[in-house]
Symmetry: C2
Subunit: 202 residues, 2 copies
DNA sequence: CTGTAAAGATAGTAATCAATTACTATCTTT
DNA sequence: AAAGATAGTAATTGATTACTATCTTTACAG
């Protein structure tokens, strides 16, 4: 996908490298993506990669930073455009799901990072991301309670948990089936049950 | 944990190897568990492992088979002992969660397997497992509908999805926090929302 | 047009890991 | 207790991988 152009300015090369890693992660186990594979996909030799990153971890770190920034941006945009807290939750959900459909490699990289036992820098970025993500969910849920849209007794932490869990589940099933397209089919149906679980009982 | 005894009969050695891999997976990235590490943990040399398994993949395969069999057994037992379909779903959920708390390495191995792009044998075992798991969920949901416990219009596939997704989410959060104990605290709260989402609206 | 700094190519190194092989220790059976 | 079977050892091999040192090409400013 990403064009194979030589002699890019350093900042562009770093951006292309990030794109390439995400692209490769959609096709193979992210942990087994070699610097040689990244270079080949860009049309460079392996050594050239190290002109732009001090080591391999720095590449992954750049990927994680891009993902965190981009995902939060898209999700915020979707939530802002929604007319009510509950609608915002659904919009956020669908925006997240669509982001994953567009970049199927990303959840795989995320999962892979979480596997590492030690506290790597990429893992810390994921932690910060999910923390900020949960904060947004908590805020929307409280607004929904004030709004009477959501059950006043709703356990907001558990609800935020379930929200993220739904996405996890969708991703896992699509990994199992090897079919990313299924997600867009299943996502609204799953959200419907969630909605029933959190909304106020009239 | 597993005792370091030499000259075990082949079948026992294979069983100990499986235990050891699950043990190691709780401590480090499953993909980076080397045959040397497995051997060392058992008190053997690296080469000895290959006396009992033709290659490394066969070890993982044995692990997956053990997990699939054991999980389905525990989950079935829990469901059978429950007084109603909805209670069975909850019992199944808690049995699954407790299984993971006891063996935190297992979900990590599972995730790791799903990452592989090609159709490996371990991946196929996971597919079979989740298929059988979903069948059980579908059956319980239909029973619950007949029983009037569950909403007659409930989308059973989406509900099964969400059920598995909840567990995924709990596991992922515990991986993030590096604290398996949190699961037992959060699991019932998350299930409560799920219950609200699927039960019949009286 | 040309000098130069940045980007990339080439050709390595050291470390790691799965797998193999020739040999040895231990158990089991009769 | 001898003989055969089973389990484990020690050393090695070939492949892979992140990373590096040195040389070459390109883009572009003046």
């Amino acid at each position: 996908m990403t064009p194979q152009v030589k002699y890019l300015p350093a900042s562009e090369r770093r951006a292309v490298t990030v794109d390439t890693v995400i692209e490769l992660a959609a096709e193979q186990n992210p942990d087994s993506i070699t610097t040689a594979a990244i270079a080949q996909r860009m049309g460079l030799t392996q050594g050239a990669v190290f002109r732009h990153f001090p080591n391999k971890d720095a590449i992954l770190q750049a990927v994680m930073e891009w993902v965190a920034e981009r995902l939060l941006f898209l999700v915020d945009k979707a939530a802002r455009a929604a007319p009510s807290p509950l609608a915002a939750l659904e919009a956020m959900f669908m925006a997240h799901v669509n982001f994953i459909i567009k970049h199927p490699g990303i959840p795989r990289i995320l999962f892979g990072e979480l596997q590492h036992a030690d506290e790597t820098i990429p893992k810390r970025i994921v932690q910060t991301l999910t923390h900020q993500y949960r904060e947004r969910l908590h805020r929307l849920i409280e607004k929904g309670k004030a709004n009477k849209e959501l059950d006043a007794n709703l356990d907001r932490e558990a609800a935020a948990f379930l929200f993220i869990g739904m996405i996890q589940g969708l991703v896992m099933q699509s990994l199992l089936a090897g079919d990313v397209g299924r997600i867009s089919h299943d996502a609204p149906r799953v959200f419907a049950i969630f909605r029933q679980g959190i909304r106020s009982t009239r």
